[in-house]
């Protein structure tokens, strides 16, 4: 099952795209595992994901910590801490 991966703010800018649809390999247990795998896709990904402490995530639009189980999501978003309001 393909998963929609979304990026926002400077994560999006460093990667150069706001969305990509990917078939995730087996063995990605946590959201952090997914981020580590994504980091290998390009220098831009690597730069965006260099410091996981600066990243936040949502799995199927539910905000989760990076050590949350990944499951088999339809949509995962990776982004910096929010700064709205």
């Amino acid at each position: 099952m393909a998963t929609e991966i979304l990026y926002f703010a400077w994560v999006r800018e460093k990667i150069g795209t706001g969305a990509e649809t990917l078939d995730l390999p087996a063995g990605l247990t946590s959201v952090g595992d997914l981020v580590a795998w994504l980091a290998g896709r390009s220098p831009g990904h690597a730069e965006a994901f260099a410091d996981p402490a600066r990243l936040r995530a949502a799995v199927d639009q539910t905000f989760v910590p990076l050590d949350a189980p990944l499951g088999r999501p339809r949509e995962v978003a990776i982004f910096p801490p929010v700064t709205g309001g």
């Binding site: 910096p80 929010v82 309001g85």
Partner: protein, 148 residues
């Protein structure tokens, strides 16, 4: 009773106010966040996570209604590019009694700052920079945890 909106159009304060001032409210509290020209900021550009943003705002408004005796709650957040003096966000709460409206309004803006997926980029002197989150926002949001 609950209304949320994320819109690139300028926020129409008059329309927002008219929409909240219904249903027998005795008190209406509002908060507007405006773009400041700090450090020579020329513009602010707001990005968000469509779908998830609206869901987060509805969840916040529902939490406020569940916690206080509100007759209405509205959150309107602008996205896209705006300049100093323009309104970024407008939160309004209505209740029979003033304490509920005032507290719920403060709750909504404090929590929105840390829970709704918006990101701000500043333009100044022709360059752009992403706004860093402020620790004081986490403190402000967390003060509402105590009495839950």
């Amino acid at each position: 009773m609950i209304a949320v909106a994320v819109d690139p159009a300028p926020i129409d304060i008059g329309a927002e106010y008219a929409a909240i001032a219904v249903g027998g409210a005795g008190g209406i509290a509002t908060f507007a966040g405006l773009v400041r020209a700090d450090d020579g900021v020329e513009a602010l550009t707001l990005e968000h996570y469509p779908g998830a943003t609206e869901a987060a705002l509805v969840a916040l408004a529902e939490a406020a209604v569940a916690r206080w005796d509100l007759t209405a709650a509205r959150i309107t957040h602008r996205v896209g590019r705006m300049v100093p003096g323009e309104t970024v966000v407008f939160v309004a709460t209505a209740a029979r009694h003033r304490a509920a409206a005032l507290e719920a309004c403060a709750f909504l803006i404090d929590r929105l700052k840390t829970e709704a997926p918006f990101w701000k980029k500043e333009t100044l002197a022709g360059t752009e920079r992403w706004v860093e989150p402020r620790g004081s926002d986490d403190v402000a949001a967390a003060r509402w945890n105590d009495a839950l």
